[in-house]
Structure formats: structure tokens, C-alpha cells
């Protein structure tokens, strides 16, 4: 019910009816407590540079709607949460979609907790890059910060002790990452063909993933140790042909061991996240239209697509086969830094926070990430006034390519149930070899969001 096919309008409507039906079949009086909350966002985006591709626009507008219905009974030990989310985009850029951010039953039995259904889980400590966080797929049609996630179907069991909790996950259904179409910004050229996604596992999105995590605290240290085995959340891409007309996502398998920790001392927070990953992408072996011979030129082009290689076809004399050169990479990646707060600055009630984080990826330039050797520094000013005026401004500097990515966010409350946010993102000084930054070089953005809470 949470499959990618759900994004069509008819099924979305069916989903809404399902919610309504659930609401009707469980009359309010059978719950000891229930709540209904809605949030509507009006979003306007202005891109300040001419688009890199002709189908793209400079101005986009959209509306998002999220409601959360929650009911509990059995002294609050059992509850249902239903959180449908929908985005309606006026521009046909493929960002319109719907999802159940949450659709689950939760039962608490002493120190045990069981959750069945779609939910959101956060792992980690750092602010910019969430390396360790892996349970949920990023909602690729939402904000570039990657903090919007799709609801992940799961069976989750939590056992809580005085010093932490042990979480066990069985994840029976994989959520594919969604990408914008030709009309959207922040995209590759050519665009990603989500409908043609390929998998390492023969079970495809039905591969059952599993994870275990211990999350604890000891004095001033909060830490997590986790292991995940299953489908990679970040797809790799290969061209559909040479020259390419589209990119096809490939979801390999992954074994990930991770640690994350935070040490809190006076005004300082010290943070670390580290992962060790072992991928299996060996199932990718395809023949591509346009790849007819194993030549150095073809090999060079394919290598540029994130480490693809080409080898002669099978003994049947078929076309050359494209696959990953290093199809079972093992590597480590880490991010860490600090956060420090000055309280009551400028003789007012305002707080000034400084965040600094470094990001490293053991694959170096081959890493399919923006953050392989980057530093992030940001200032956060919190007004602590009646309207919660807040300003966050930061820059990510790629220490290798010297690309710079500036971001500023201002927000304030209007009355008791509205919020206004303004966000600006500027990518500057982009080196063409910084391939993940280069594709969004012309996507400098100012975004205005007005939120109404009900």
C-alpha cells in the first residue's frame, strides 16, 4: 500500500478513503484520547539563474498537505497513527506525490514496544550529513536538505533499559527514491527514469531488510551502535544508452556497521558519525544500445558514470556488457564536529550557535556524494522572542574542488498558527570535476514558504 505506484491520483484518493474508513470504523468514543492535526504549506520558488536545460523554469509553486490522526487506548499503551502527506505541484515537474509518512499501530508492554506499519526513524547526531540514518528512504521530491523521508513499512521492536534501548527492525518493503522530471530543477541531465529501477536482489523491492541498533547514554555521552543489512537507500545510476537519454537507478545490496556519538559538556556538543559499508553491486551486467565495441573511448565515458566498465559480451558473441568495475566495494565514511552556543548575546535574550562539521568519504573523488572532503560551518541566531525569529546561515566548502555552497534560512511565527520561512541557496565556484555539484550549478534558489497549522 506504500509502493511507488501509490503516487497516482486514483490510488491517493483510495488512500484517503481508507483513512476516512478507518476513522469511521473506530468511533471516537473507543479511544481514550485522540488528536487530529493538519499542516498546509504554500511554497514559492524563484531560481535566480537561467536554467541549464530548456524544459526547466525559473518560477515554481506548490502546495503540501499533511494531516496526522492519532488515537490511543488501553491506558495509552496502544495507539494508531495515520499521517498522510501530499504535494500538489502546479508545474508538472513530477514533484506532485503522496505518501503515508506514518500508518502504524504501536503497542507498549512494560519495557517492550512493538510497532507495525509505516513509520519514520531517525538515527544519528550530526546536523548536515546524516550518514548513519538509513531506515527511511529520502523523499527526493522535497527539500534538498534530504530531511524529508518516505514512510518505511516495518516491524520494529524496542526493548528499553535504564541506560538505553535496543531496537530490532524487519523491513519487508523497500521504497525507491523519486526524482523530478525534465521540468524540474536540481536534477541530472538526462533525467532519472525511476520506473526502470534495477536491483541487486532478485526480490527487488520485496527484499526483506533487517537492522539492529543499541542507543544508549552514559553520563555526558549519548551513543548508538548499529548494523544494517539490505537494499542501499542511495541508488547508483547507469545510462540507458550511449549517448544517454535517461539514467537508470540501480539499487545494490549493503551491509553497514555504524557508530554515532555525542559528548555534551557545558555549552559544547561534540559529535561523530562513522560508517563502514560493504556493498554488493555485482548483479549489474547489461548491454546498452550504442555500446557496440570495447574501446578506450567507450570505457572512459562509462567510467565517468560513477565507475562503470565495459567487457566483451558472452560466448554467444553478444554486445559488450556494462557493469561496475569495482562491484563489491568496501569503504568507510565519517562526519563529525561541534556545536557551541552563546546564550543571551548582545545583552538580549538571543542565543548564538556555531556549528562546524567535517565530512569525509573513503572513496574520495569516486564517492557518489557531494560530501567526500567537505567542511560545513554555520551560525544560528535564535531570537527567543514572542515570534521565535530565527536565522541560520552557513556554507559548505569542498576542500578538494573548492566548490562553495551557501545557504541561509530565516523563519518567524505569525500569530499562533502560522509560520513564514525564507530560504536562499547559492552554489558558487563550482569545478566541473565536482560532478555532483556541477549538475546543480545553475540552481541558485530563493524559496518562500508559508505554513498554516490547524
Amino acid at each position: 500500500m506504500i509502493s511507488r505506484g501509490f503516487t497516482s491520483g486514483g490510488q491517493w484518493l483510495a488512500g484517503c478513503l481508507l483513512c476516512a474508513g478507518l476513522n469511521l470504523s473506530l468511533p471516537a468514543h473507543s479511544f481514550e484520547s485522540s488528536s487530529f492535526e493538519t499542516e498546509i504549506n504554500l511554497e514559492l520558488q524563484v531560481y535566480t539563474q537561467d536554467a541549464a536545460h530548456s524544459a526547466q523554469k525559473d518560477f515554481y509553486s506548490g502546495l503540501t498537505l499533511q494531516t496526522q490522526w492519532y488515537g490511543e487506548w488501553d491506558d495509552g499503551n496502544q495507539s494508531l497513527t495515520v499521517t498522510p502527506y501530499g504535494r500538489f505541484d502546479a508545474d508538472g515537474s513530477g514533484r506532485s506525490h503522496a505518501d503515508f509518512r506514518e500508518l502504524n499501530w504501536l503497542g507498549v508492554f512494560g519495557s517492550w514496544e512493538v510497532l507495525i506499519g509505516a513509520s519514520r526513524v531517525f538515527w544519528g547526531k550530526t546536523e548536515l550529513l546524516h550518514l548513519v540514518d538509513i531506515i527511511n528512504q529520502t523523499d527526493g521530491l522535497e527539500n534538498l536538505d534530504g530531511e524529508d523521508k518516505l514512510g518505511q513499512p516495518m516491524l520494529k521492536t524496542t526493548w528499553t533499559t535504564g541506560t538505553g534501548n535496543l531496537q530490532l527492525f524487519v523491513l519487508p518493503w523497500f521504497r525507491e527514491r523519486l526524482h523530478v522530471n525534465e521540468k524540474g530543477r536540481f536534477r541530472s541531465e538526462p533525467v532519472v527514469r525511476d520506473s526502470r529501477a534495477m536491483y541487486q536482489s532478485g526480490a527487488e523491492e520485496r527484499h526483506v531488510d533487517a537492522a539492529i541498533r543499541w542507543e544508549g547514554w552514559w553520563d555526558a555521552v549519548d551513543y548508538g551502535v548499529a548494523y544494517f543489512e539490505g537494499t542501499q537507500r542511495n541508488p547508483k545510476f547507469f545510462p540507458d544508452a550511449l549517448p544517454p537519454t535517461g539514467l537508470i537507478p540501480f539499487y545494490g545490496q549493503l551491509k553497514q556497521f555504524s557508530i554515532d556519538a555525542q559528548y555534551t559538556a557545558e555549552g559544547w556538543l561534540w559529535k561523530l558519525e562513522a560508517v563502514y559499508r560493504k556493498e554488493d553491486n555485482s548483479a549489474l551486467a547489461v548491454t546498452l544500445p550504442g555500446v557496440t565495441a570495447v574501446t578506450p573511448a567507450t570505457a572512459a565515458i562509462l567510467q565517468g558514470f560513477g565507475g562503470l566498465g565495459v567487457s566483451p559480451g558472452s560466448s554467444f558473441g553478444g554486445a559488450p556488457v556494462v557493469s561496475f568495475v569495482e562491484d563489491q566495494p568496501e569503504f568507510a565514511a565519517a562526519t563529525g564536529g561541534f556545536e557551541y552556543s552563546f546564550y543571551g548575546v548582545f545583552g538580549t535574550g538571543m542565543d548564538l550557535g556555531v556549528v562546524g562539521e567535517y565530512m569525509w568519504d573513503g572513496r574520495g573523488k569516486d564517492a557518489e556524494t557531494l560530501f567526500q572532503d567537505d567542511f560545513f560551518i554555520a551560525l544560528r541566531l535564535a531570537g527567543n522572542d514572542i515570534n521565535d525569529n530565527a536565522l541560520l546561515a552557513g556554507v559548505v566548502v569542498d576542500l578538494e574542488y573548492k566548490s562553495r555552497f551557501f545557504s541561509a534560512e530565516y523563519s518567524r511565527r505569525i500569530g499562533n498558527s502560522m509560520k513564514l520561512s525564507l530560504e536562499a541557496r547559492v552554489l558558487d565556484h563550482v569545478a566541473t570535476e565536482d560532478r555532483f555539484a556541477a549538475v546543480i550549478e545553475r540552481d541558485d534558489l530563493i524559496q518562500f514558504t508559508l505554513t498554516r497549522f490547524f
Binding site: 495507539s79 512494560g110 514496544e113 524496542t158 534501548n165 555534551t264 546564550y343 521565535d388
Partner: protein, 265 residues
């Protein structure tokens, strides 16, 4: 006989009361501490409690803004209490929750739950002087009031609102406190705090707190229904009202941990 008797009365009186007078003269600090300990002792055994809180913030021009919260507390023997505050209004922060393990000495442990990300984040508890929800209450005003957090001096007895009170000064032990001292009026009958004056680091009167509508719960525990905090330096004012006080609902440590924080709605 008569003479003897009055002499012995004088003698007995002197024997009985001189040491007391001497004690009082020798240590206003001891008397202040004794009052604080007695107040703390009288409230022991509340086990757990919950309440809803409404804050009305009023600026110098009379413009108001409302905050709604729910609170839960757990009594902890030999250390500070555990507390949980869930925010309901304003709506952009609804679902946010703050878990505090207070300690009699040293910094408290605090975790913030951010519902949009389903993230629990340990935060620095150093921000004692900062405004709580942009109100005139600082975090330290609302934290668990442990005896060990102050040193005390008994000042005098005084009638306040027609009730005989002890007036004591308390000086925060923590040098990060925003206050040089607090002067508290505590009623002699029930040891309830009725009024507190807060003096800033420059020894200037910063705020006055008055506590109203006290009610007794479980035949023992007195709780104020309404707190009025007036900032004399900015002319801003906050009214904090408590409702639906409930005690001894059988809460335990498992209601005050990160797992509990994540399932709050």
C-alpha cells in the same frame, strides 16, 4: 515560695531560650537552610504528578500571546527529579518535548524531541538564564528546586497577604545562574512559597514572582494554580496557570526515557 517560683521561672526560661537566641544570632544561614529543608520535607512523597500549563505572555504594550504545555514529573530520591514537558501551542512547535533529569549538584541532563524529524537530541543544559518559550520565566525558574541548588539566609518574619511568613534569601550555587540572589516569602503554616524577588547579577531587582490559588492534593502537597511573573526592567509579564493536577498515577522511570520521548503525541 512565690519569690522562689518566679526566680526559678526566670531561670528555666533562661536555660530554655538562651541557647535558641544564641543559635539564631549565630547563624541566620542555618535557620534559612532549616526552613528550606522543612519546606522540601513537607512535600516529600508526591511520587509523580502531571498537569496542563497555560502561559499568557504580555509585552509592555499589552499585546498577548499564548503557550500551551503538558507536564509530567517523577520524584527521584537522593537526586533531582525527572521532568517531561510536551508543547501543544504555538502550533509550529507542537509535539516538541523536553526531557530533563535534574541533579542536585552539577548540570542537568536534557534531551529535546523534534517531532518533524523524529529526532531526540541531547542539548546543553547550560542555558539557565534563557527565556522559557520566550516568557519571563527563565529555565532555572522552572527547573526542579532542589535544596542543594542554593545557600540560604534567614532575614526576618513578616506578614505577607495576611499570612505570617519567613523571609529568606537564597543565593544560587551555580555561577551560571542569572541571579545574584532571590528573596522568598514562605508561609509559616504550610511552608509554601508565596512570593520571590529575583535580583540580577548587578544586584538590581529584575523580576517578581507571586504564587496564587494554592490547593492541597492528596492531603499533603500544596501546588499553586497560578504564577505571575513581572519583569521590572522590561515591563513584560507572564501568567502561568496550572490545571488538571494529578498525583500518584503510577509513573516510573520508563515514562521518562528516550523511548517514551519518541512515542509522545
Amino acid at each position: 515560695m512565690h519569690k522562689h517560683s518566679s526566680l526559678s521561672f526566670l531561670f528555666v526560661t533562661a536555660v530554655l531560650f538562651l541557647p535558641l537566641l544564641a543559635t539564631a544570632a549565630q547563624s541566620a544561614a542555618e535557620k534559612g537552610l532549616a526552613i528550606a529543608i522543612e519546606a522540601d520535607k513537607r512535600d516529600e512523597g508526591w511520587t509523580d504528578s502531571s498537569a496542563t500549563m497555560t502561559m499568557i505572555l504580555r509585552d509592555a504594550y499589552g499585546k498577548t500571546s499564548t503557550r500551551e504545555m503538558r507536564s509530567k514529573s517523577l520524584e527521584v530520591a537522593d537526586d533531582g527529579d525527572k521532568g517531561l514537558i510536551i508543547f501543544d501551542e504555538p502550533k509550529d512547535v507542537r509535539g516538541t518535548a523536553l526531557l530533563t533529569f535534574s541533579h542536585t549538584t552539577g548540570d542537568d541532563d536534557q534531551w529535546l524531541y523534534l517531532p518533524a524529524l523524529k529526532r531526540v537530541k541531547r542539548i546543553s543544559s547550560r542555558n539557565k538564564t534563557g527565556p522559557f518559550m520566550s516568557s519571563e520565566f527563565a529555565y532555572e525558574d522552572l527547573g526542579s528546586q532542589e535544596v542543594e541548588k542554593y545557600t540560604y539566609t534567614y532575614i526576618r518574619d513578616e506578614l505577607y497577604e495576611a499570612q505570617p511568613c519567613f523571609v529568606i534569601d537564597r543565593v544560587p550555587v551555580d555561577e551560571k545562574s542569572g541571579y545574584s540572589r532571590q528573596r522568598a516569602w514562605i508561609d509559616q503554616a504550610e511552608y509554601r512559597v508565596l512570593k520571590v524577588e529575583y535580583y540580577d547579577r548587578k544586584q538590581t531587582l529584575l523580576k517578581t514572582l507571586t504564587l496564587h490559588d494554592y490547593k492541597q492534593y492528596a492531603n499533603k502537597h500544596w501546588r499553586a494554580g497560578r504564577l505571575e511573573m513581572k519583569n521590572h526592567q522590561t515591563d513584560k509579564h507572564t501568567t502561568l496557570s496550572f490545571a488538571e493536577y494529578r498525583f500518584k498515577q503510577g509513573m516510573d522511570d520508563s515514562d521518562f526515557n528516550q523511548s517514551a520521548l519518541k512515542r509522545l503525541k
